[in-house]
């Protein structure tokens, strides 16, 4: 019994430590964004609340933050939508039609997802340069889609495999085509899986940096992570308040998504990685 109590105390302390470890830095980011001075910890003046940094992130035209955010949302949204619509027929074929070579197909796709992005980005830059695509949405959406498709296929395959095949048989007897079955039978039943996949695809595309740095040059297509990575102050010193305000504004949507859809994200992640 006393050991049980010890374990419980340890667990409580551990949970507390884990929360501080995870959220402490985020809190520091928020405080710096809302503080008049970035050195509020050590400076005698201490913490003085202000919204000036948020104001300048949203209103300083030369920072282009709202444009970056719009680009990020358009690019990630389009990539997520494409991923789901391309990966779901493939996942349907893999789970429902025992095509020769489907295991090889799944494994090759898995191996492809582990390629380092830097081994594609130089070539893509040169080809897209010739096509005049640098700094356009498609220059990001198309590689992102290809890049996230393997994970999408694996997640959707595990969800579709759980939909009873009797549903398909019944629909086939009723004369439905495979495509109709996918749309009218599988999609509604596997909707949570589709949603998890789209959510993960969105987050991965939203966070991507390397492709975005190579393939976009200014606010016409540049995404938020690039904007934050390349943020330079006018006179060398980084304007921490403004940078952290931009970071918070970027992070809030992601935090909200995580808090609301925690279960979906975890399901998607574990299905893609472990198939636990």
């Amino acid at each position: 019994m006393s050991e049980e109590r010890q374990v419980r105390t340890l667990h409580l302390a551990g949970a507390l430590g884990m929360t501080i470890f995870s959220l402490g830095p985020i809190l520091y980011m928020a405080l710096t964004a809302a503080s008049r001075r970035p050195d509020f910890l050590s400076h005698a003046a201490g913490f003085e609340f202000t919204v000036a940094h948020f104001d300048s992130v949203l209103r300083t035209a030369s920072l282009h933050f709202p444009e970056y955010l719009r680009n990020s949302i358009v690019v990630s949204g389009a990539s997520a939508a494409l991923c789901v619509s391309i990966a779901s027929p493939a996942a349907y074929a893999v789970t429902r039609l025992s095509l020769p070579g489907r295991v090889f197909f799944l494994l090759s796709v898995l191996a492809v997802s582990m390629f380092p992005p830097v081994s594609m980005v130089g070539y893509l830059f040169q080809v897209m340069g010739k096509l005049g695509w640098i700094n356009t949405y498609q220059a990001l959406v198309l590689p992102y889609t290809a890049w996230i498709l393997p994970l999408s296929l694996w997640i959707l395959t595990s969800y579709f495999a759980q939909v009873p095949a009797d549903l398909d048989r019944a629909a086939l007897i009723d004369g439905c085509s495979r495509l109709t079955i996918l749309r009218k039978v599988i999609f509604p039943v596997a909707a949570p899986g589709i949603f998890s996949t789209a959510l993960l695809a969105f987050i991965i595309a939203f966070n991507e940096l390397l492709f975005a740095m190579m393939l976009s040059t200014d606010h016409a297509a540049r995404t938020v992570p690039v904007g934050i990575a390349l943020f330079e102050g006018l006179h060398g010193e980084i304007p921490w308040g403004v940078v952290m305000a931009a970071s918070i504004l970027t992070t809030i949507p992601v935090i909200l998504l995580t808090l609301v859809f925690q279960r979906r994200i975890i399901q998607g992640l574990t299905r893609g990685a472990v198939k636990g």
Binding site: L99, Q162, N207, L269
Partner: protein, 308 residues
Amino acid sequence: MGALSGNLSPRGPAVAEELTRGEFARGYAFLLPLAVFVAVFIIVPVIGTFAGSLMQDVTFLPKRFAGAENYRAMLSDPGFWQALRFTCLFTLVSVPLELFLGLLFALLLARPSPARGLLRACVLIPWAIPAAVSGRLFQLIYNYHYGLANYLMGTFGLTDLPVSWLGTPAGAFVSLVAADAWKTTPFVAIILLAGLAGISQDLYLQAEIDRAGFVCRFTRVTLPLLSPVLVVALLFRTIDALRVFDLVFVLTGGGPGGSTTSLSLYGYNYFLGGDFGYGSAVSVVLFLIAFGLSVLYVRVGKFGRELA
């Protein structure tokens, strides 16, 4: 192991009996868009990079076939060896640390508690935010004059003088590992959590009846049964750590003195400078390392074996 294979194998063949020749064609047509996307935007660029690594291809200079010249130059390039060494060292230090912390987190998250959902969401947040954002955040945390790290060190009396986190090679290395651990521990924890959920509760009950203590239950039940999932997490993280780019680019920029430049960043810098031949050669080396490990991953993970 798991939902995918378990549900797939009994049903696959039964449906297959009903497949007509036309349906085979349609089946492949269903795979086609995905295959085309992956081929055009991943496979072709990788082949292009391999081909490019054999060329002298510098902006404003005539492009010509160079054979193994780029690779030969690489052998005597201290910058390349430094990047290779940093990438390996970073992987060797950060991955075990993240696995250890991830296991700890998973064990804490697995225990039933009323706030479990909220706790899981909180832990997930560092994983979900862009690496560029966490890179900037840790740059501020490590600020010499007023960052959180030095503030805490001073408050707890750990050092008399502020630590120059990003100004020395050792400090920059530690900073990167810590920032990476903050960001990727949640991912490891979530994967291991799924593994923990797969362990039968009966085994723990039996262990309790046998009066096995907490430590004994962990080493005799949890660890052996979790090991397949641990291996998957290990290889997943290893491949990810080898190709690290975002965090290094934002937090240290590869410095000081190139001491924290990863292979991805080293290749990128050459692309940025317009030397596509040499950049491609560096990328090919990284590709081969990651590819070798991913083959190992697929083998060890026994993926799809039950599917065959």
